[in-house]
């Protein structure tokens, strides 16, 4: 017998194992979701952009009987022209503060999964288990939708309504006794009518406190909260514009990379930031045409709580939701809690506090719960 070369298509056997693995990944990811705040532009990036998410703790490996890690620095073997002291490779340093996962097997190898931003939002929504946001019809719903439900005597050839035109020709033939010619005066064209439609456009402004009091952990909680809010709103408004603002004593609009990492020393004032955003909103997204959402992430350590309250009270009627997320707020005097000042305002203002990472989901549920639930 000699060797042969041939085309084959062996039976595919792995479908079930692949699906099972993907289900496990999903379960793992849900545990990890509050921490998906890395450097990828998850808030403003396009929905189909792929993001790599590490699953720490190696939840997707079986445990292995291997030597334990020693205190010594990790070593390895390599091959090539290099002598003692030479640097042969470089890699990013260890990332701290991401929390350790626990999971299946208890292995320790990081596992990276690729997801699109839309998929991440979908998972976050599943995680929140909230009713889907309904578009709010507004009283002044003057936007109109075109519906092709009418006929006209004028139009282009591509819009000829064949059935109506033939019917007209036959009717005329019956009356006149002539053959049913399709002349210009019997041709009918598809046409449209306008129908009022509730407005459902929405815009999200996320305002983050970047003052000196915002510690690394507070920033982390803020970013996680922003992700959840966006995931929830994007289900109803897939193309919703998102504006990222940062404030300490002044306020400014920034891009996502800067927004995540910005940190400044100094005091914190909110009223100027509210005024600036309100002016920006009124210019670009007038209240009669837009559902305007504001998410304010702060630790509540501010100099002007009363002014901020006044600014928000004046602004409230033009907002669909003003969510104030207080991350690890300080409760001691002389810090007057922003939460206490804002709490009594009622809809559409909602205030939640997040102290630890495990509270993120519950706080988001409170913040984003359905209106009816809220009223009931």
């Amino acid at each position: 017998m000699s060797s042969v070369v041939r085309h084959t298509a062996p039976p595919r056997i792995g479908q079930q194992d692949r699906q099972r693995y993907l289900r496990l990944v999903r379960d793992q990811l849900k545990q990890r979701l509050p921490h998906v705040v890395g450097d990828a532009p998850i808030l403003t990036g396009p929905a189909d952009q792929r993001v790599a998410i590490p699953l720490p703790g190696g939840g997707l490996t079986l445990p292995q009987l291997v030597p334990g890690k020693t205190q010594e620095r990790p070593t390895g073997m390599g091959q090539g022209p290099a002598g003692p002291g030479d640097v042969v490779a470089r890699r990013p340093g260890p990332i701290s503060g991401n929390g350790a996962g626990t999971g299946r097997g208890g292995g320790h190898v990081d596992h990276v999964v690729d997801l699109t931003i839309a998929e991440i939002h979908e998972l976050m929504r599943e995680d929140l288990r909230l009713p889907r946001l309904r578009p709010r019809p507004r009283a002044d719903a003057d936007a109109s939708a075109l519906v092709w439900n009418s006929r006209s005597r004028h139009g282009g050839l591509s819009q000829v309504d064949v059935k109506a035109s033939l019917l007209g020709a036959i009717q005329r033939a019956a009356v006149t006794g002539q053959p049913p010619y399709l002349t210009d005066d019997v041709l009918r064209y598809h046409s449209w009518s306008e129908r009022p439609r509730p407005k459902t456009s929405a815009v999200l402004y996320v305002l983050r406190d970047v003052s000196g009091s915002m510690s690394r952990e507070k920033v982390y909680l803020s970013l996680a909260a922003a992700n959840y809010v966006l995931a929830h709103l994007s289900a109803t408004y897939p193309t919703m514009p998102v504006h990222l603002w940062a404030h300490h004593e002044d306020a400014m609009e920034v891009d996502e990379a800067e927004w995540k990492h910005l940190n400044s020393a100094g005091g914190t004032r909110i009223a100027p930031a509210y005024d600036a955003i309100r002016a920006h909103m009124d210019l670009h997204y007038p209240p009669d045409g837009w559902n305007r959402y504001l998410l304010h992430l702060s630790d509540g350590d501010v100099e002007d709580p009363e002014e901020a309250r006044a600014a928000l009270v004046a602004w409230m009627p033009a907002l669909a939701l003003a969510g104030i997320v207080l991350t690890q707020p300080i409760r001691q005097a002389p810090h007057i809690g922003l939460g206490r000042v804002m709490a009594g305002l009622g809809a559409p203002v909602r205030v939640v506090e997040i102290h630890t990472r495990t509270q993120i989901i519950e706080a988001m549920r409170t913040l984003l719960a359905d209106d009816e639930e809220d009223e009931a």
Binding site: G14, P63, T75, Q79, G80, V88, R91, H108
Partner: protein, 435 residues
């Protein structure tokens, strides 16, 4: 392209014959990318279904999509060996890969590690998938997965069946190969309940022992454990000879394509040389078994002569060939070094810095790095309450405790009682109750 390759095969066969590495026919099968990645994730067509193979599939696919780690072929140790070639390979790549597969086939048929193994994928392993599917239908996917998850961490702790007779008692006759024929009939005392262990203690066949003697496993669960065990026995020789395999196959395809009679066009020669150079590229921080194996084999030929090098290569494993034959000169000639990751003083990065090390230290680290050695653990006996006592048989290190604890917990569940894993190297014993 198939007819071209088929027409070219006799030339390749002749060249392989001249190189002295002809071992018999190979069944070359050209398959699409998805099939090849699936086969690579499973290792061989009859592999047990488990989600880890699904993971491996996605990992490889993602690596391919990112332009890393292209897979040109995969070969299975059957008789004749089945070589799966990617249908997207260029003609030159297919020719290179076919010569490469002849190298693998030679190792499969001539290396001592494979001499006692199965020469084809046994029918019962091929049936394993069907049995697992039937168990899944009857008992549920979760139950099947729970058994496999518990058994798979112990898959390399298996041995071929040991003789049933217990070790001869001291003071008796000298133990000889024919003693079993003349063994005294079992005494009445033994028949009345003195338990004669089927296994000689200690045994490395931990999974086999649990599969046969666990008081809690159902028959189908025993069968699953036994399937894992037999599969590991089939795959074990390949685990210890990765560098031997790839180094020899790289050497074979290099010399086959250098032969003037091989009949490749100039353009194909250049393309094949380009691919080959990529395959045997030295890696500064992660040993490339193709490069290391090929260079080490060439070095052995230079130093010991072709015949001796071939003999060494066909009897040693990855770890033993390094421990027995790597010298200071090898370390120098192959430019091997050890490095350490250390944090650089800026930008939150880590640098791999080459460290000063003796050639012996490099040799030993190399042997460990290529062989991914199995931590020696043995089943040394039963505990008074019917639990299992395992011992780590090395003083060099203790186990990664978190992982070992999870693995021991799985084993205790299979055993249905306590399992204790003793660690001599200063590590505390790991104990799980099995409830």
């Amino acid at each position: 392209m198939i007819s071209e390759l088929q027409a070219w095969l006799p030339r390749l066969d002749a060249v392989i014959e001249r190189l002295g590495i002809a071992s018999g026919p190979v069944d070359f099968q050209i398959v699409d990318a998805d099939t090849l990645y699936e086969l690579a994730a499973y290792g061989f067509p009859g592999q047990l279904p488990h989600w880890t193979h699904g993971r491996d599939y996605w990992d490889q696919k993602r690596a391919l999509e990112r332009g890393r780690g292209r897979l040109y072929e995969m070969i299975v140790n059957t008789e004749p060996p089945q070589a799966y070639l990617l249908d997207g390979n260029t003609r030159a790549a297919q020719q290179l890969v076919m010569a490469h597969c002849y190298g693998h086939a030679y190792i499969f048929r001539r290396h001592s590690a494979f001499a006692d193994g199965w020469k084809s994928t046994p029918a019962d392993l091929l049936w394993a998938r069907e049995r697992v599917r039937a168990y899944t239908a009857e008992y549920g996917a979760e139950a099947v997965e729970a058994v496999l998850d518990a058994a798979l961490p112990w898959q390399w702790y298996v041995e071929e069946d040991a003789p049933d007779t217990p070790a001869p008692k001291s003071g008796g006759r000298l133990a000889g190969p024919y003693d079993r024929l003349f063994a005294a009939p079992p005494s009445r005392k033994a028949a009345l309940g003195e338990r004669v262990p089927k296994y000689r203690w200690p045994t490395r066949d931990i999974l086999g022992f649990v599969a046969r003697h666990s008081p809690v496993l159902e028959d189908w669960e025993r069968d699953l454990c036994d399937l894992v065990r037999r599969q590991a026995l089939y795959l074990r020789p390949q685990r210890g000879t990765k560098m031997i395999h790839e180094g020899f196959a790289a050497w074979a395809n290099q010399h086959a394509l250098l032969d003037p009679e091989i009949g490749l066009s100039d353009a194909d020669q250049v393309e094949a040389a380009r691919i080959w150079a990529q395959v045997v590229r030295r890696d500064p921080v992660d040993l490339n078994p193709y490069a290391l194996g090929w260079e080490l084999y060439e070095w052995l030929i230079r130093v010991h002569g072709a015949a001796a090098a071939r003999e060494i290569w066909l009897t040693e494993t990855d770890a033993s060939v390094i421990r027995n034959y790597v010298t200071a000169e090898t370390v120098r000639d192959l430019k091997l070094y050890a490095y350490q990751w250390e944090s650089a003083p800026y930008d939150n990065v880590e640098d791999a810095r080459v460290v000063e090390a003796s050639w012996e230290a490099i040799r030993d680290a190399l042997a460990n790095a290529v062989a991914s050695p199995i931590v020696p653990i043995e089943l040394t006996g039963l505990l008074p309450q019917g639990g299992l006592r395992l011992e780590v048989r090395t003083h060099e290190y203790s186990l990664d405790r978190a992982q070992a604890t999870t693995a021991v917990r799985g084993l205790a569940l299979l055993w249905g009682g306590p399992v204790v894993l003793q660690q001599p190297a200063g590590g505390a014993a790991i104990q799980e109750s099995g409830r």
